[in-house]
Symmetry: D2
Subunit: 330 residues, 4 copies
């Protein structure tokens, strides 16, 4: 089969002779309909493999949708022919086939094409990340990239009375407004986050960017006993200085976003499967590329200031312009 793999820093390895994986017990083989590029980890792995330890530990191409081709022993939640989306497979998703654990597979609603369906992988993440949002809460979300827009939709569904979102890119904020944000704030000044005009005393502040500035800004935005959610992965500046005496005075709570255990993941996936038909995906999908053009898609997404450390900002001052998810079709 055809497959792209990450072979080194900024180095993609192509083959059309890769062996199709064979599902072991509790594993599922998926014929990939489409994959989307993760604007955070795929990009950071690409730019820092070999330089940062964690970049060799994740799967490159971990957002896919497709059709179940075969299942291993003991699999009960999927049968060949099922249309599915996958929350992190075991093998590269930039390929014709990918292997996944059964718990990572969710049912794809009938009407959703694979290109949009791959984005559903963000839904169980957003479900788990927002587990602390309660009916009537006031919620701030910093960052309206794909994960921020998905989280916005779930926060609204959890009954937040007010969701305020912020991003550098006004083009993204138009989508936010159409997806339920009660107020949108266009950041300027290099992305500096202030109480004015965002507001303060939020019940929950969600950092969907993942920089030292945004995580500490979230602490500033929440009320006493408020909740800060770390959703954007801190891939580049992994170590962040936080002001713990402020945390203590506020009686802060902090949640990280990803579902770390199978129990958490299964629960989030079950909810995601039920919500999936009502989630808007096409506003998050910008364009599709054939598998062979993966390098072009990665180059396009690499125009992101988030790929550079806080102290040494990159050549581009914001997120990739007018771009959310890019799909890769084998």
């Amino acid at each position: 089969m055809k497959r792209y793999e990450l072979a080194g820093r900024r180095k993609l390895a192509w083959t059309d002779q890769a062996a199709v994986p064979v599902p072991g017990p509790a594993e599922v083989l998926v014929r990939v309909g489409a994959g989307t590029i993760c604007n955070r980890s795929d990009l950071v792995y690409y730019h820092y493999l070999g330089e940062r330890e964690h970049c060799g530990q994740g799967v490159f191409g971990h957002e896919i949708a497709g059709t179940v081709e075969a299942v291993g022993a003991g699999v009960s939640r999927a049968v060949p022919g099922d249309r599915v989306f996958v929350r992190t497979p075991l093998t590269s998703g930039f390929a014709e086939f990918a292997l996944a654990r059964e718990v990572a597979v969710g049912k794809l609603p009938e009407q959703v094409p694979f290109t949009a369906g791959a984005i559903l992988q963000l839904l169980p993440l957003a479900v788990h990340a927002t587990r602390g949002v309660r009916l009537g809460d006031r919620v701030a979300i910093l960052g309206q990239g794909p994960v921020g827009l998905m989280t916005l939709q779930v926060a609204v569904r959890r009954g937040a009375a007010e969701v305020v979102v912020a991003d550098l890119d006004p083009w993204r904020l138009e989508r936010s407004a159409s997806l339920g944000a009660h107020r949108t704030v266009a950041l300027t000044d290099g992305g500096r986050v202030d109480r004015d005009p965002i507001g303060a005393e939020f019940d929950v502040a969600i950092d969907a960017v993942g920089t030292p500035h945004t995580v500490n800004a979230c602490v500033d935005l929440v009320r006493c006993s408020g909740l800060v959610v770390l959703l954007g992965t801190h891939h580049v500046d992994t170590h962040v200085a936080v002001d713990l005496i402020t945390w203590e005075k506020k009686g802060l709570r902090v949640h990280t976003a990803a579902e770390p255990t199978d129990t958490d993941r299964a629960a989030a996936m079950a909810v995601a499967e039920r919500l999936a038909p009502a989630i808007a995906l096409t506003p998050l999908l910008t364009e599709s590329y054939p598998l062979e053009r993966l390098p072009d898609a990665i180059e396009r997404l690499s125009a992101s200031s988030l790929l550079y450390p806080a102290g040494a900002p990159g050549p581009y001052p914001g997120p990739p312009p007018r771009t959310l998810k890019l799909a890769i079709v084998p």
Copy 2:
């Protein structure tokens, strides 16, 4: 009335002519039976007032027990003559009388003397701090000063299946064992915390010290989806570098300890009042001093390495030797 106040860095102001405060609406005036010195904030305020911003914001002498002398309008939970403990008064507790908000006042069990009773102020804190401990959990507590020993007792009452505690001072660990710790670990090497011999994969790790090293050690001790509780106040090194990519991989949750809202405080106080008769206090009380000897008591507690920044360790390598709570009796 007699009163000590903090007048500047390492400077106590004494008077025997202070005006007795008058309780306003929802306030209670308490005739102080005894106060205990907070080994963290009272000490840090004393040593850093004027040098660190937060040191002027709290009340000096905030742990007291006594008798209600008068109540303001609308007070329904206390009447003159009630024996009470106070979780943070509005005026210095190193005095003959102190003022407190009604929500800060808890009923002192009959048999508890005031010197031990002042320590009960730690109980609602420990109740709130351990709100994430569940039946069957494995819990690690770093630090077995007064707050660590109180938290140990509450963690055991919450049904923790295993509570492992660690401290530099073996004398303290004898108390830990008698108060329900399933295992005690004497730290050496300047307090360095390691999985061996403490263990790993804890459901909850509680930092009852409050240094950059102990908070990050707690992250290391917990399992995926585990909970870290920030209980020891980060008074000296307030800004701590944390490794957020590890937080994300673990799916970490973080709770701070103090009850930041009146709703939280009232709930914790109600539970504390019910638990109070069964809590061991005398093992936490080392000695009583008359009010006039407050300076001696403070000097004794100042032999604590925690009063010095991590980069510039103080002259003394651990907690004040063979000392837990010191009571001050007007």
Copy 3:
């Protein structure tokens, strides 16, 4: 002032010389803009006062909106001039003024007229009643009277993936569909509830009717470990035979609906105040009557089969035709 009170079974007492109440501590005096009739308790009190013990224990006319006229000592959440809704006052709401405890008063959004605003009293009830509804749940609601329609709106806001509602009156179900019900079921056969066509294995089933049949039907509709919510008041047939071995096999949980403590009520009210601007009220309001015509409004609502015991059904086979809330304007 003018006032209607309940003076005996089916006997209203009118006066225009009633004394205006004076607010005591923590009480609020409200100039009534409008009140709505409770289709359950007001009606049952009217028809059974003196015959059933509980009918003399509640307040007649307990759903009002208006303007704060005066406040008692210690009131901090309301000032004269505030537009408010009240969740159960202390004195008859069918009057020019009514007294309420501070905790019972919620802020009325600017754009909401008093006649619709009085219905907001159902919102904190619906918030509390649905506290067990979680994101992604499948929910069944039996009964689409005013409280059922309000609960539908809150269940949707809590992120229910599917809300199925049932009622005898197709006219009501049109409103249900417009307010977010995913599926509506018109009951026939005297209101008999069956899995076909409603469905089964619901996560939550809410009895918004309150008859022996509907409560047991809810037990049948939920999955193992499911939740049954008793929302419709069991005013007429107060004692109901339930099959506890089925409860045990299902691992059933049961919630009653009303907020029984001040803590519960304050929490529900705070959420209700935040949600209020987005709640649809006019679809629930059928007509307004001047205070003098209260008897006519009560007669209209008395065409309800729910006012008669299960064994001795009344002359009318369903809810009052084409009628939801009736407002009474002093």
Copy 4:
């Protein structure tokens, strides 16, 4: 192998030629070390099989401990040789071997003999049943048979500030006191439960008997917004008349006890395995019988008034005298 099965009303079928079951996928074969008789369902099945529908639906002999003999495909939590207890097997536990689903199997602590170990089956039940007990709660438990005594131990471990227990048999209450009950009440007058001398305003009331009287008494004992736990199985009088207007006024919550889903069961079992070493079992074990004498043991336990309907009380006025659990050893 040897085996007793229930063949009809009050009719035990014996064989020594039964086939040893073969574990299928996710199943475990256990060599039975001992089983205990369930004082509720085993007894009711024996006395009512064929007369009450549910008596043919459960497993006769469902409390066992033993050694894993073999495991089916996909089993990961048990290997042959493991000492285990089983929470409800798939085949009769009054036999030399029994089959169980993997989720039903818990690790037996080393020092616990099989006769006592079989009683551990009650532990995950008690863990789940008490899920609503919180730190500081006041808890009443009606009934101090084996399940009541186990629940008492878990309620204490959950941090209940006061646990009051009641039973007809003072011999049982001596055990209650030694196992942590703060107060014991010997019921007289046929088991009538009154607020005096039990008390009132409990946060949680647990019916560990299972009669119409005890379930309604629990409603009377709890405070507003309190929790009633239905723990004793309503096997004989399955349909109980409850007063729903009182439920509504109290804002009651009700939990049933058994873990109805695999997720609930796995969670309760995981906690039970951790708590098991600290649970007192021998006070609950009265005597052991060889398998052949199962009929004698059943006869002894049949002296229980609970085996007769409320309207037609049996010949014996209380629980089997001086008897808790009887173990059956193959």
